[in-house]
């Protein structure tokens, strides 16, 4: 096994690969990330041949680790970096039990956090990534971790998965080419390219911050916004959480506090510039 240990926010990973190339790509992509605390990784993600005797001949890459899905579809070795990324994601989606996990992006400014959530295709990931290049600190583009007890958001700044049109959009604003991974064509998710978050997102990954607003964007419509009730916000957030139920009463307390102290707003936006303008307008109203 080729191996790389690294820490992203509160998670110390051990990543293993039966092939060298995907680990080398991962090492380049995650340049500058810290090692796990005390050199001790507590969560393992791996990729290995689906069938051990086919390690070299058109190998099928299986996504494995401490937590596994029985029916995870194997991938081709050309997409090995994506497979590793998915294995790392899966560990959090299935295994995280210390923080309330929202399927959402989040950005911070002046110590206050805007959470962007909604179904895939809503543009939350792209919008989070763009805000991260325009004066906001990116906390995460996909998984938001909320600390029970304090209600604070913990950053989880994994590499961002840019898909299809979002690739060119970020290529236009990110000058540092070293932050991009290789372009992966025709993956199960379309064309895909990873982007390492901006340096401050990595340097400040242990700074927690208080949620101020939950946004539910919808991409591709004329600009429009609408508030929602606390019960609706609560219900939508629980639907978008992979571990709400498993956290039991602590999950309930944490989620209820978020839904009753932070406003929730649905908004539509026509394009990325329009989306960012609306977010800035909300931020101004909240004094962020």
């Amino acid at each position: 096994m080729y191996r790389l240990d690294l820490r992203v926010g509160p998670v110390g990973y051990r990543v293993g690969s039966a092939w060298r190339r995907p680990i080398d790509a991962l090492r380049r992509l995650y340049a500058g990330y810290p090692a796990p605390d005390e050199g001790l990784a507590t969560l393992t993600a791996r990729i290995e041949p689906e069938k051990p005797w086919r390690r070299h001949l058109r190998p099928q890459v299986a996504i494995r680790g401490d937590f596994e899905l029985p029916d995870a579809v194997p991938m081709t070795l050309d997409h090995g970096l994506l497979a590793i990324e998915m294995a790392m994601n899966l560990q959090i989606a299935l295994g995280e039990r210390r923080h309330l996990l929202l399927h959402a992006g989040a950005v911070e400014r002046n110590g206050r956090v805007i959470i962007l959530t909604g179904e895939s295709g809503s543009g939350k990931s792209t919008l989070s990534a763009l805000l991260g290049e325009h004066g906001w600190r990116l906390l995460s583009d996909e998984f938001v971790l909320i600390e029970p007890g304090t209600g604070l958001v913990r950053a989880f700044p994994r590499a961002i998965s840019l898909k299809n049109a979002a690739i060119a959009e970020l290529e236009r604003v990110v000058a540092d080419r070293d932050r991009f991974g290789p372009l992966l064509r025709a993956t199960p998710k379309g064309d895909l390219r990873h982007l390492r978050p901006a340096p401050d997102a990595i340097a400040r990954m242990d700074e927690r911050a208080m949620p101020a607003l939950v946004l539910f964007p919808t991409f591709g419509h004329a600009s429009q916004a609408e508030g929602m009730g606390q019960a609706e916000l609560f219900a939508l957030l629980t639907q978008g959480s992979t571990n709400y139920a498993a956290l039991g009463e602590r999950g309930f307390e944490t989620m209820a506090r978020l839904a009753t102290t932070v406003p929730g707003v649905r908004f539509a936006y026509p394009d990325s510039a329009g989306g960012m303008a609306i977010v800035e307008q909300f931020a101004a109203e909240l004094g962020i």
Partner: protein
């Protein structure tokens, strides 16, 4: 790490983790998760002074176990509500039994589907009540239905349409095709009430049932967890004065003397379980093969020794079915 021995050692002797290196921790956590023993490990190491990140990982396992237990208790309660009006008292098996009865074997243990045992003559009534109560057959094809009803020790699995939870309703503890034939009426007659409308097997029968699982049912995958159950159960029950004579008698009644003896030797060898050697019998050469199979996991949590694994798989099916039926079963499995 070359095998799962460090996990066995950490469970048996928690102080053994005091001086292990960071890399060994990483491997130990992966192995414990793969063996579904991470919750039990978390319980065992609760009092120790551990690296912060390890404590956090184990706390996560405790949270998961607590959730499993809430769900397990709730499934039991909903089943009780369905069956109690018919005068049916389900006998809880495996994880749910350990948790609801408050046994040490339940502490930190992950619990999956609900397994209950009923007297054969209550089966039809219970089945009807469960179907009315929202359960559906997981597989409703004629072969599955006929196969289970003719040869198996349980109804075909039922899934609740809304909750998605599964219940296995047993009328005995081994398939009817298996060579040993446990005395099902005796299992029911000796069952112990643990709460209004709920029971478990008697202590000795619980050990016999766990041994069935380990030796006769399955390919020994996950065997370390089954053995850990047995270790905890034996340590709990052997405080009762007549436990060992009772276990000797019951393993005879259920035609399970050899598997029970083997199970006790294995749990003694791995977890230092205090056992009565009159019941456990003498070490056999093949015990070493079982131990090797049980420990076959590397530091990444991957199963090793594929050859032994296959041999055990064939062996387990051989024990459960006479050869001709085995061929028929494998043939139909291969086609579906």
């Amino acid at each position: 790490m070359r095998d799962a021995l460090p996990l066995v050692r950490a469970l048996t002797d928690p102080a053994s983790v005091d001086h292990i290196m960071p890399d060994d921790w990483t491997a130990l956590l992966s192995i414990a998760r793969a063996e579904r023993l991470i919750g039990s490990l978390a319980v065992r190491l609760k009092e120790r002074d551990l690296p912060v990140s390890v404590m956090e990982a184990l706390e996560a396992a405790r949270v998961q176990a607590a959730f499993d237990h809430v769900q397990a208790r709730w499934e039991v309660e909903l089943t009780r509500r369905l069956l109690a009006p018919l005068g049916i008292r389900p006998i809880l098996l495996k994880g749910s039994a350990f948790v609801v009865a408050g046994l040490a074997a339940g502490e930190g243990r992950m619990v999956g589907d609900l397994d209950i045992l009923l007297p054969a003559d209550q089966l039809n009534k219970a089945e009807a009540a469960l179907l009315v109560g929202g359960y559906e057959w997981a597989k409703d094809d004629p072969y599955t239905q006929a196969y289970y009803r003719r040869w198996m020790h349980e109804l075909p699995p039922l899934i609740h349409a809304e909750r998605g939870t599964m219940i296995d309703v047993h009328h005995t503890i081994l398939p009817l095709t298996a060579r040993p034939t446990p005395d099902a009426p005796a299992l029911v007659a000796d069952a112990v009430d643990i709460a209004p409308g709920l029971a478990t097997l008697s202590p000795a029968d619980m050990i016999v049932h766990a041994a069935c699982h380990l030796i006769a049912d399955g390919d020994m995958a996950g065997g370390l967890r089954n053995l850990w159950d047995i270790d905890r159960l034996v340590r709990d029950f052997s405080r009762q004065a007549n436990f060992w004579p009772m276990l000797a008698e019951r393993s005879g009644v259920h035609q399970m003397r050899e598997p029970v003896a083997r199970t006790l030797r294995l749990t003694h060898q791995l977890y230092e379980t205090p056992v009565d050697h009159a019941v456990a019998g003498h070490t056999r050469a093949s015990d070493a093969l079982f131990v090797r199979r049980l420990l076959s996991r590397d530091g990444w949590g991957r199963q090793t020794n594929r050859a032994t694994r296959l041999a055990f798989y064939i062996r387990s099916h051989w024990m459960r079915m006479p050869p001709l039926m085995l061929a028929r079963h494998l043939w139909i499995k291969a086609r579906s």
